[in-house]
Amino acid sequence: MRVVVDLTKCQGYGQCVFAAPDVFRMPHHETLMYELDPDETKRDQVLRAAAACPVRALLLDEEITERQEKASAGNPDIGRIVIVGASLAGLRAAATLRREGYAGALTLIGDEPGEPYDRPPLSKQVLSGQIAAADTMLPRRDELDAEWIRGVAAVGLDLAARQVRLADGRAVGYDRLLIATGVRARPWPDPQEAALDGVSVLRSRQDAAELRRRLASGPRVLVIGGGFTGSEIASVCRELDLPVTVAERGPAPLVGALGGVVGRIAADMQRENGVDLRCGVTVTALEGDRDGRLRRARLSDGSVLDVDLAVAALGAVRNVEWLDGSGLAAGAWGVGCDAGCRAFDVNGIVCDDVFVAGDVARFPHPVYGYQFLTLEHWGNAVSQAHVAAHNMISPSGRLRPHLSLPVFWSAQFGVNIKSVGVPTFADEVAIVQGSVEERRFVAVYGHRGRITAAVTFDEAMWLDFYRDLIERAAPFPPDFAMVGRSAPPRAVPAEIPARIPAIHDATVVVTGHNPDERRATLVSAGAK
């Protein structure tokens, strides 16, 4: 049977571990590791765990589509819905469509072979060898009653004809389209070096299986990039007692997502756990031997490392090429859409029949000054997929906005890091609960005197309190008395690095003079 835990909800109560100790493990305070595909003999255990979870965070096969309560949510014009990108967002959207009573034809198109799987375990349980890469399938959705087109990429979109073109030459018509093509790993920029045996990335199940295979042979590892993925890989290396170097361009790991203050704590954590962490450096070259096997890495500070495995964890590239020339506002920045998940065309006008969800989406968030955000978060893919699916089959008067605050988690070095809100939307940060020394604390972020985000290290039970404060635009720093506060909180600069959004790369020309003729044309959709 299959199970996936919504770790954005999980508060670390451990009840699932008590009920099913063979399936769920909590090796430290609150990081939860589990099998996604336990065998049938463990079924009763898993059912008990699902019932015992105080926040009902476990999703099982049979619970995916709840009873279809409403009869066909009748919009008779919608006879065929097509979803491109059959991973987390695509699957969740499909389930929501059925749950909300959509009874028409449903097609899921995905370029990966096999059933959809869950990615977060790839850099955690899979790399550490607790579960096989193949055993990460998302709970079954047979009952979706959908047509699956697997292993075939979409290569084009014709908005006027309402057709998706596939790599095998087929065209698939739609009344409503959902774009959920996500992102891929940014490859190592030098193609020859990238092709060396021992240079890899981590995004797909195959990547993870391959990396796991290599880790098992005890290599010296270099992780290029100290973001979440890079840090998690380094963490697993240390768990496996492998020597690992992390090369990070910025002043500390996780700085891009959490700022310098919390980044320095992450840096300490890495070093305490035996990571050879090098900040403020870049990798300038990867060198192989005559057989094309990786041997060395050269860093910008002149140092040379002997390594057998280098993982480029350089962030993501959005899967938008198939939309080139389609007339959608799609580019390196993602696919632009409104808060109702309706895609923008190049003129910046929303389409009524094309929707976007998940990692590929770029959407405005009212709580963050209507700024356009792209989030590579599991929880965002899920909640945005729900909103998109709902809106796809709803009349325009009943559209829902995608307003949920982003929630993210990461498990590294035995610590469960969670965040709510957008930590990069901040000028200051304060530690308000717990103890940095003990690696159990809550950091709150503020922007111009109001709370915009909170990050917890092994303190997930408090996260919802801060979510409510953010939603109420509560003043920063929170200065009321609280339990677990050792000293009055001191707000310090959050040290968020300035980032130039990819959207600045868009080159658009406007043509026409009459109001009816004026049109935008996307000339360049940015560097990929």
């Binding site: 571990v17 008590f18 430290h28 019932a51 709840e66 609960q433 009321f480 008395a481 609280m482």
Partner: protein, 412 residues
């Protein structure tokens, strides 16, 4: 004028307090004449369970912090148990016990107790052979969890009558109708001191000759100071004594009131998992934790401001019946989806013993329904225990036509 909350406290409403809840929820956060604030709606209860401005340490109130039990009393006053402490002490103490009880240190411990629990259950039911009238409470629901907690803690079962009364007094001190908060806490300190003195002797014995019980583990690993060991052991002993008994008794009562559910459970023992969760929502053993929460700051919630220093009472049982959260809340429906009940509380004080209580109750109800032949309620409602906090039948008399053998098939 009596408030709805005061009416709810009235023993006359113990058998069926539920009709009062809609009125209670009309004011989600209601100030009481004694200055405390009573919270009765699901959303607000959940928010306060996770609100770091809410303390569980009554020593924030000077009049409680200043309580010193008579110095001539032979038993020294204990530090508050971790249920009455805040982080970081709470987290530290809880983790020190968890190390021997659950993940990460001992993830399989509770699951490993199943076979012993089955043994105790079988013995208790076998002992009913030949009887036509039984008391579910005295004959089963009480002895089962008490035996389990005693064995787990390493407390000799024959000593039970000794500390039973202390445990009961301690529980009564939660009952707002039995005196002011200061009087009640003084009584509690005195009682816990006596219990602590008894446990101290036991701890010495375990230190000399450790067993594989929790008390031995706590004294031998030396992490926890002795006074905290005693408070913790007292907390576990009391919690293990006064709660699960109600879940089992409330469970049998509810099943007998819903024969179709009872029948389904008889046919399908796996159903017990959902039955137990729904019982924790529908007939929770703890209607409200003892009043020990206070506001560390002014808390604005549901249009009310709870002033700093106020005592906060969370009526979990009312939140469990809140129609804004649960469809058709007054219906007992084990098939309910998304049953995020408050039976074990929530947040950092979420019930420590929940896995134990779940396992005991699941096995207990499955076996009782399987083995009792034609059980019938003698009185409905049964007589209730006095306290409104920990609510459950004092006795639950059933007439039966005998018991099935322990080895008979699970159906019919």
């Amino acid at each position: 004028m009596t408030t709805t909350y005061e009416t709810f406290l009235d023993y006359a409403n113990r058998a069926d307090p539920y009709p009062l809840f809609p009125q209670l929820r009309r004011t989600p956060v209601a100030r009481q004449p004694d200055g405390s604030y009573v919270v009765s709606t699901y959303r607000e209860i959940v928010a306060l369970l996770h609100d770091p401005r809410v303390s569980s340490d009554l020593r924030n109130l000077p009049e409680i912090a200043n309580i010193r039990i008579a110095p001539d009393d032979a038993a020294p006053q204990l530090p508050p148990e971790f249920i009455r402490r805040d982080p970081p002490d709470h987290d530290r103490l809880r983790a020190m016990v968890m190390k021997h009880f659950g993940p990460p240190g001992a993830p399989g411990r509770v699951a490993g107790m199943e076979s012993r629990m089955r043994e105790i259950i079988t013995e208790l039911i076998d002992g009913l052979a030949g009887r036509s009238r039984i008391d579910v409470v005295d004959d089963f629901a009480y002895p089962l969890p008490v035996t389990v907690i005693c064995e787990m803690l390493g407390v000799p079962r024959p000593d039970e009558p000794l500390f039973h009364k202390w445990s009961q007094i301690a529980v009564e001190t939660n009952d707002p109708t039995t005196g002011t908060i200061v009087e009640r806490n003084r009584r509690r300190f005195e009682t816990l001191a006596k219990l602590g003195q008894y446990l101290d002797g036991l701890a010495d014995a375990h230190q000399r000759e450790p067993g594989d019980d929790l008390l031995s583990a706590l004294v031998t690993d030396g992490e926890m100071a002795r006074p905290d060991v005693l408070s913790t052991a007292a907390l576990l002993l009391i919690a293990g004594h006064e709660t699960t008994v109600n879940l089992i008794a409330n469970g049998m009562l509810t099943l007998l009131r819903h024969p179709h559910v009872l029948e389904r459970l008889r046919q399908d023992p796996g159903y017990a998992v959902n039955v137990v969760e729904e019982l924790l929502r529908y007939e929770p053993p703890i209607h409200m934790p003892g009043p020990r929460r206070t506001a560390l700051a002014d808390i604005e919630i549901a249009g009310t401001t709870i002033p700093q220093g106020s005592v906060i009472v969370l009526v979990l049982a009312s939140g469990n019946r809140d129609p804004a959260r649960f469809a058709d809340p007054d219906r007992f429906d084990p098939d309910r989806r998304d049953n995020q009940h408050l039976g074990f509380g929530g947040g950092i004080h979420y019930c420590f013993g929940a896995p134990l209580a779940r396992l005991e109750t699941r096995l207990a109800l499955t076996e009782l329904t399987r083995r009792l032949v034609e059980p019938r309620l003698v009185a409905d409602p049964p007589p209730y225990r006095h306290t409104p906090n920990l609510r459950g039948p004092l006795h639950l008399l059933l007439d039966i036509d005998g018991i099935r053998s322990a080895h008979s098939a699970s159906t019919q």
